[in-house]
């Protein structure tokens, strides 16, 4: 029904309960007609976010919203008749006014808190057809505006209805579109077709609100008003291409689960919404996974992964059908609303150990810091606690060290260690009765073993070893086969182990050993004539392997993902080139500068940092990380400082370095929380300093994940002890004493057949002995965890190591020398039970299982087991050294 407007022919004020609006006289006065419209919602702030939707209006805020052209309101409308409903949380009022004009003084509706109220209103439209609502409240308020009619000038000249206009206009769109149709002729109705036929009064659908197009459509519409000729047919072709939608879920431990687990899932919802492709990874669950499902918001299973067969590439195809009491449309709506979740169930947590909600990927980097761990129990450490701590922080416990640590406590022990003096490897090598020409790299290893076995500064020793496996140089490079270069490098790591990471970065960069290993030494600036560019080796490895890695990380070490669910690279070729240009002009210190060729053929000096020849330094602008560009013409030192600062400040450094140190000392698979807490102490040591290694080491060793006994029985907790460390563990436990000249001659450990398959500063490549991401195929890979040290554990090396350690335990060293081991702690035990207690403490940190204990006890009690006390103890320790429960620290 269309109501005629109030015309000069008379007042019909009874219509719609409006204040009567009387024209005084006919003919001359200009007025508007009133036209009804299908009741339609113009604004609802409680709904999904958007200009005509949520969120609720904040206190004191205002919001404009479009009216003209919407909901069937003619673009010629000057005012609308609406019903305004408020959902208040405080008392107050709302004022509506035309957009673009000052806020009116009169409010439209007033209210008390928590009482839903409604009021009719006539709202004048702004020049562009918009209205603005102003909040006069002290808290947020929900606003709903429904329109049911409008006022517009009648155009008495027209003979034909104006054609409908489409909004949004015809064209190509990705994703479904909601099309509004409106005519500027007031009081006209619109009819439309999508099937290609011509709309008319008898054909087509009456327009009553926006039309959703989900595919390519030819939309035809006409506007009709009695008394006027029908409008021309308006044709709009919409090309709709639907897109897959990517949703991402981050899996985190459910509340109440003591879990180190983590995971990530992506769900690619097909454009036709019939299927979705799921990919997920997870790591470090407490126990074996027993089930995996996608759940509806109320917990019902809507996709059971256990029943599905993975595709060849590991993904799973979910055919979306009704499940339980959920219909297909409900599932799809919940999915899009971020209310469905992937839940991984385990033996320990049958209701789910880790779960994550699928949210539409929109490219924004969302990071939620992991929850803090539970507090640690108070009280002095037990002997087992102390042994475990010493296994992480030193080259191995001794009975005396365990007892001392129990009284001292962990924090005080660390403090004492941090201030112990260091010992020079170079001084040791210099003092050897070996001709200089024969001082090959194994003499440097001799120096390293001595400090590792007998040094008091054990924390420094372990840290320096860990750093040597991050900033790798290796005597496998024939140019570094001199003891002097290896010893100087190890001294550098010793010196900087407890300093600032920025200093370490600088010292390593200018170390001649590193310069030789990764080609920065005598690296020359670019030569435009030949097209030769500076060597990029150091530039590449310092970024990829030493500091930031290939992909951007969250503060907890997990990968950041872009809108396609893919990792984000930290640098590209331009940055490599820029850093390579920074690292030019440096060579061995102390050269005779008058001989120009000395830059290319310098006299080695392994002990001093490299020095720069400015004329060989690249002078152009240099591209660094995060968009920083060094200006041309800086001094080489200024370039170097700025470049190292640029790396040092990168957000990746903390989590990257923390993960490495944790893997070398405590556990191969730190939880995101552990990496986060360590990374935070790297970022700020508590006194505003970034890169404080002392703070980092403290955090690593005192963290819940290193100290709590709750994690001990998680199937993926702990690590395989490096062969180097296992070897020294035995020597320290048995108080190894060198021969009279004080030298531990262990030279050939790098062999798998005859040694440990590992030796300090003897990695096969710059990738260290093993990669941080190595995952042994089988149960370990299936659990999504890594086990770097197993990469150098093979059928040859396990026997090689076993044979080597047997010789070590019997006192053999290289060059036919002897090392004396003291088995008294075990030979004085007096009974099988006590000896196994002592073995359990010294070698297993109390973690020896009953079965292992039984196996060892049976052997000891067997009459055919060696009877001579030292041979008994030696054989027992050898068996222990092979046992999985010793090889793996937890």
């Amino acid at each position: 029904m269309t109501a005629k407007g109030l015309r000069a022919t008379g007042a019909r004020w009874w219509l719609l309960g409006l204040v009567p609006f009387l024209w005084a006289a006919p003919a001359q006065a200009a007025g508007t007609d009133f036209y009804t419209a299908s009741p339609c919602r113009l604004l609802d702030t409680r709904g999904t976010a958007g200009p005509l939707g949520g969120p609720n209006l904040a206190a004191g805020a205002s919001r404009p919203f479009a009216v003209g052209g919407r909901c069937g309101v003619s673009t010629a409308a000057v005012a609308v008749a609406v019903n305004v409903t408020v959902v208040p949380t405080s008392s107050g009022n709302l004022t509506f006014g035309p957009s673009g004009s000052p806020k009116p003084l009169a409010s439209t509706i007033n209210f008390r808190p928590d009482v839903v109220r409604a009021n009719n209103a006539i709202l004048t439209l702004g020049a562009a057809g918009g209205v603005t609502v102003y909040s006069g409240t002290t808290a947020e308020v929900g606003v709903i505006v429904d329109v049911f009619g409008y006022f517009a000038d009648g155009d008495t000249e027209a003979t034909q209805v104006a054609p409908p206009a489409f909004n949004p206009p015809p064209g190509s769109y990705s994703g479904e579109q909601s099309i509004e149709m409106v005519t500027s002729t007031p009081g006209a109705t619109i009819r439309y077709t999508t099937d290609g036929s011509t709309p008319s009064a008898a054909n087509g659908t009456a327009y009553s609100g926006p039309v959703t197009l989900t595919g390519t459509t030819n939309l035809r519409a006409i506007a009709i008003k009695s008394g006027l000729a029908n409008s021309p047919v308006a044709l709009g072709t919409y090309t709709i291409s639907l897109q897959d939608i990517l949703l991402i879920a981050t899996l985190t431990p459910q509340s109440g689960a003591v879990s180190l687990g983590t995971g990530r899932a992506t769900l690619l919802l097909a454009a036709d919404e019939q299927t979705a492709v799921l990919r997920y990874t997870f790591s470090n669950l407490s126990t074996t996974m027993t089930g995996a499902h996608i759940h509806a918001p109320d917990g019902q299973i809507i996709f059971d992964l256990d029943d599905a067969t993975p595709e060849a590439d590991g993904s799973m195809t979910w055919t979306i059908v009704a499940a339980g009491s959920w219909t297909r449309p409900q599932i799809l709506a919940a999915l899009r609303a971020g209310q469905c979740y992937l839940n991984l169930h385990t033996v320990n947590y049958p209701n789910g150990e880790i779960k994550g909600f699928f949210r539409i990927a929109n490219g924004s980097i969302t990071f939620t810091p992991p929850a803090a761990p539970p507090p640690l129990p108070s009280g002095p450490p037990t002997a087992n606690d102390a042994a475990r701590f010493l296994t992480q922080a030193t080259y191995g416990p001794t009975p005396e060290a365990i007892t001392a640590l129990q009284s001292q406590g962990f924090p005080a022990w660390i403090t004492a260690q941090l201030s112990l003096p260091l010992t020079s490897h170079l001084a040791y090598v210099d003092g050897l009765p070996v001709p200089e020409d024969d001082r090959y790299s194994w003499y440097a290893r001799e120096a390293i073993w001595k400090q590792a076995i007998q040094g008091q500064d054990q924390l420094r020793q372990r840290t320096a070893l860990a750093l040597s496996e991050l900033f790798v140089t290796s005597s496998e490079d024939c140019d570094l086969s001199w003891a002097e270069s290896n010893a100087a490098y190890m001294d550098l790591l010793n010196r900087d182990a407890f300093g600032n990471f920025r200093t370490l970065l600088q010292d390593v960069t200018l170390s001649p050993s590193m310069g030789v290993y990764l080609d920065m030494l005598s690296n020359d600036k670019e030569d435009p004539e030949t097209g030769r560019n500076p060597n990029e080796n150091y530039a590449r490895e310092i970024l990829q392997l030493f500091t930031i890695g290939l992909y951007k990380l969250h503060p907890d070490g997990t990968l950041q993902l872009d809108v396609d669910g893919l990792p984000i690279a930290t640098y590209g070729q331009e940055e490599i080139k820029g850093f390579a240009q920074v690292f030019t002009g440096w060579t061995f210190a102390g050269q005779d500068r008058s001989e120009e060729w000395r830059f290319y053929w310098p006299e080695p000096d392994w002990r001093q940092p490299m020095e720069v020849w400015t004329e060989h330094h690249s002078t152009g602008a240099k591209q660094l990380l995060n968009g920083v560009v060094l200006p041309a013409g800086q001094t080489p030192q200024a370039d170097l400082t700025a470049a190292l600062d640029n790396i040092f400040q990168h957000a990746n450094v903390g989590p990257f370095v923390c993960r490495h140190l944790i893997q070398r000392l405590v556990t191969s698979n730190p939880s995101p929380g552990y990496v986060y807490r360590c990374g935070q102490s790297f970022a700020n040591n508590g006194q505003g300093v970034r890169g404080d290694m002392k703070a980092v080491l403290r955090t690593i060793l005192l963290d819940w994940e290193a100290r709590s006994t709750d994690v001990l029985n998680q199937q993926g907790y702990g690590k395989v002890r490096e062969p180097i460390v296992r070897f020294v563990n035995l020597l320290r436990a048995l108080k190894a004493q060198p021969p009279a000249d004080g030298r531990f001659r262990y030279y050939w450990q790098a062999s798998a057949e005859w040694g440990l398959n590992q030796a300090p500063l003897q990695a096969p490549t710059v990738f260290n002995f093993f990669e941080p991401t190595y995952s042994q195929p089988g149960a370990i890979a299936d659990a999504g965890i890594v086990a770097p040290e197993l990469q150098i554990t093979n059928e040859t090396s396990v026997f090689g190591t076993a044979n080597f350690l047997r010789g070590v335990l019997e006192g053999y060293a290289d060059d036919d020398t002897e090392v004396t081991l003291n088995y008294t702690y075990l030979t004085s035990a007096g009974s099988t039970s006590v000896v196994l207690d002592r073995v359990n403490l010294l070698f297993y940190s109390g973690g020896m299982s009953t079965e292992t204990r039984t196996i060892l006890a049976d052997a000891l009690n067997d009459p055919d087991f060696p009877t001579e006390p030292v041979e008994r103890a030696l054989t027992l320790v050898w068996l222990v050294s092979l046992s999985p429960e010793f090889v793996v620290q937890r």
Binding site: G531, E536, L550, I576, N713, P764, T765, P777, L790, F799
Partner: protein, 471 residues
């Protein structure tokens, strides 16, 4: 010094190699699934049905130090004078050379082999031995002009032992890579070995990069057999409590995944050692006499292992042997050029390889086994007074019943210092890449041409992915 050429700065594995490519192989990787530990029953070995289908083995003989192949293949005719003039005191006497007449590839010139290579010379004449000329690591083909201009992309650290050894063994000089081309071949083909209980990649010469794969790890043996666990008794005849304890420790199950993972390796080592030792005992004694040299002993063990291939369940195997000491900077010759350090090395090489070929004919697998040499680099054509220094391209030998021997392959460089193939002092710019050399071997071994880039990612840059020496 030229700069390394990197293709993809963000890749740690070479482009083209992805986990997905190996998916079908990884799932059935030998020794990589968590096998329950079982005592290997000798009766099962005997009763195992002989494998149907073909058998192939690749045997890499790596000459560590850089072999002076300029004295392996020597111009004998009118060009001898130039050779003698250039090599001065390193030159072998013309009369001492063992003449050979290649059916092709010789350029119509006269050639001779080093006097110590008597056995190999006769195998060349029997067309069982081929010579591949001037092979070396390349990032892409390079001319002398490009080399001199410094514009060419070159393998990094030319003339460095460790770097060039890695380039030879990985076949990928321009990217950081952990795996060797032999390991990548094994990753692709190990499924042919079904449920074989021991690795298809065996090394008689310790750790090497050549055999490092993603799924397959090399199993190292000594020339006496598997390393074996000392102080350990595997039998039941008498009571040895420590050995019982070891078996029980490795038979036990562990809840911690790392403990279980280590245990799996140790258990496999015990089983493999037991199985290999038992199988080797059942191996028929080899009639062929091997020289009692280090390389001779290695290749003898390879022959013995090949003889028990059915007991091991093998259809494809990759072996690695090596001889060291080729870095003849000094003392290359002593007295006469036919003697001295290099001559001794070639004598050992000749004796070991010849005996090995004979053993393969004895075992009836001559056409199934192909041996090939490799080395860090060749050496300078010019003498340094006492020997020769690090070079680049060098000649290599391929031996086996399937080899189209008696021919030269590739292109012999112009043997002139400062000539068109010289990068300086007679360090030949390779005319055949390690990629092409290795690809020819890999294809014979069973790698399809579609899969070839997975093994040798840069192969597309070179002209001759199949040099033709394996038919």
């Amino acid at each position: 010094m030229s700069d390394p050429f990197k293709i993809d700065p963000s890749a740690t594995e070479p482009r083209g190699l992805s986990r997905r490519s190996f998916l079908r192989s990884v799932c059935t990787a030998v020794g990589m699934t968590s096998l329950a530990s079982t005592v290997f029953d000798l009766r099962r070995i005997a009763a195992a049905a002989p494998l149907s289908g073909d058998f192939k083995a690749l045997v890499c003989v790596f000459l560590y130090g850089g072999n002076d192949s300029n004295n392996v293949l020597v111009p004998r005719g009118t060009e001898y004078a130039a050779y003698a003039a250039a090599r001065r005191n390193l030159a072998l006497p013309q009369a001492s050379l063992l003449s050979i007449a290649p059916l092709s590839g010789g350029g119509g010139r006269s050639w001779g082999l080093h006097p110590q290579l008597t056995g190999l010379r006769s195998l060349f004449n029997q067309q069982r031995l081929a010579l591949v000329a001037n092979v070396g690591p390349l990032v892409a083909p390079v001319t002398r002009a490009e080399y001199d201009a410094g514009t060419a992309a070159l393998p990094p650290q030319l003339f460095s032992h460790s770097d060039q050894t890695v380039h030879w063994q990985t076949g990928l000089p321009d990217q950081p890579v952990r795996t060797g081309w032999g390991g990548r071949v094994a990753d692709l083909l190990h499924s042919l070995n079904g449920t074989a209980q021991v690795s298809m990649s065996m090394s008689l010469a310790g750790n090497n990069t050549f055999q490092v794969g993603n799924a397959v790890t090399q199993y190292q043996l000594s020339s006496e057999g598997s390393i074996g666990l000392g102080w350990y008794y595997d039998g039941t005849e008498w009571n040895h409590p420590p050995s019982i304890a070891i078996r029980r420790l490795m038979a036990k199950s562990y809840g911690n995944l790392f403990q279980a993972g280590y245990r799996d390796v140790f258990q496999r080592a015990l089983d493999q050692d037991r199985m290999l030792s038992a199988a080797l005992e059942t191996a028929p004694a080899l009639q062929t006499a091997f020289p009692d040299t280090d390389l001779g002993r290695q290749l003898r063990m390879v022959a013995r292992l090949i003889s028990i291939r059915e007991a091991l369940g093998m259809r494809r195997q990759v072996y690695f042997c090596a001889a060291g000491g080729y870095d003849t900077h000094d003392g290359q010759i002593s007295g006469t050029p036919e003697t001295g350090a290099h001559a001794d090395l070639l004598f050992e090489l000749d004796g070991a390889l010849s005996a090995f070929y004979t053993a393969t004919t004895e075992l009836g697998v001559a056409s199934d086994v192909t041996s090939f040499t490799a080395s860090d680099f060749g050496r300078t054509y010019a003498s340094n007074g006492d020997g020769s220094d690090h070079g680049w391209g060098s000649h290599h030998l391929v031996l086996g019943g399937a080899v189209a021997g008696g021919r030269f392959y590739g292109q012999v460089p112009t043997l002139a210092v400062d000539g068109p193939d010289d990068s300086g002092d007679g360090r030949w710019i390779p005319t055949t890449s390690v990629d092409e050399y290795s690809a020819t071997l890999a294809r014979w071994f069973g790698v399809s041409s579609t899969d070839l880039p997975l093994v040798l990612p840069n192969i597309g840059r070179f002209n001759t992915p199949d040099l033709g020496f394996l038919g």
